[in-house]
Symmetry: none
Subunit: 154 residues, 2 copies
């Protein structure tokens, strides 16, 4: 089980600690770093989260010499420079740095939203609004998706 699914709303205490949903934690076991890697999303007011394995793979990509290497360089700066390693405490919580809390405008609670291979952390109310919009778009594009889904596996 290596997928982040569903949405969980947990509390942020006055120390900035949040419980990472248990199912997310189990999706991260066996990694070289026991915790999550988090960075402010470049596109939405949320925190992007994943295991460190993702970044290890990403690092390999930046080492390559290719036509996009310059873009990769900017990319690496934007990604690695702004990312945080957040270790689990013994109860499976992480502490969110001030920079991330500010970026996502987090208050008393935080919504962990599964996105498959990664997840995001949202202010719950902001996510509800965003989800409504995203769902509406998905509904419109539904035809294309369903076709893809029903493709016979080769």
């Amino acid at each position: 089980m290596a997928l982040f699914l569903s949405t969980f709303v947990n509390k942020v205490d006055k120390k900035g600690r949040v419980s990472v949903p248990a199912s997310f934690r189990t999706a991260l076991v066996g990694q070289t770093f026991s915790g999550v890697v988090a960075l402010p999303s470049l596109t939405v007011p949320a925190v992007e989260g994943s295991g460190i394995d993702r970044f290890e793979r990403l690092a390999e990509g930046t080492d390559q010499l290719n036509p996009f290497s310059e873009a990769h360089d900017d990319f690496a700066k934007a990604i690695f420079g702004r990312s945080h390693q957040l270790p689990f405490d013994s109860e499976g919580r992480i502490v969110l740095p001030e920079a991330l809390i500010a970026h996502a405008k987090l208050g008393e609670t935080a919504a962990f939203v599964g996105q498959g291979r990664t997840f995001q952390i949202w202010e719950p109310e902001a996510y509800r609004a965003y989800e409504r919009e995203a769902t509406e778009r998905a509904r419109r594009e539904r035809g294309a998706f369903l076709q893809r889904r029903e493709e016979p596996r080769s």
Copy 2:
């Protein structure tokens, strides 16, 4: 054999538990997650269900750590975030989250409706109405279809 066929109506107890029909369970054996993945349908008042394999395939197509790949779907976001992993208990039941019960307006009973590679969970009465309507529509369209076929002869 991995198809969901036929319709079964089972009870929802006061804990929100429902037995997944045995034939549906056997269609799910051997998956990496022992249970079903469920999400509210985008189009009808029902719960969409499937095995996790479907979502694993979906995740492969959406790698969204790279912000330059603008191509990621709203859809994947809407799908992963709104989905729920519902593990089987030792008797083959799942517990339906409040959000799904509300979406499908489930009461004391739930109808599991096979759809081939997936299935749906309906409030039984709502499904009967929907089915009547669907077969009626199919009948009308079949009529039109047959007419079209006959046209070249005339």
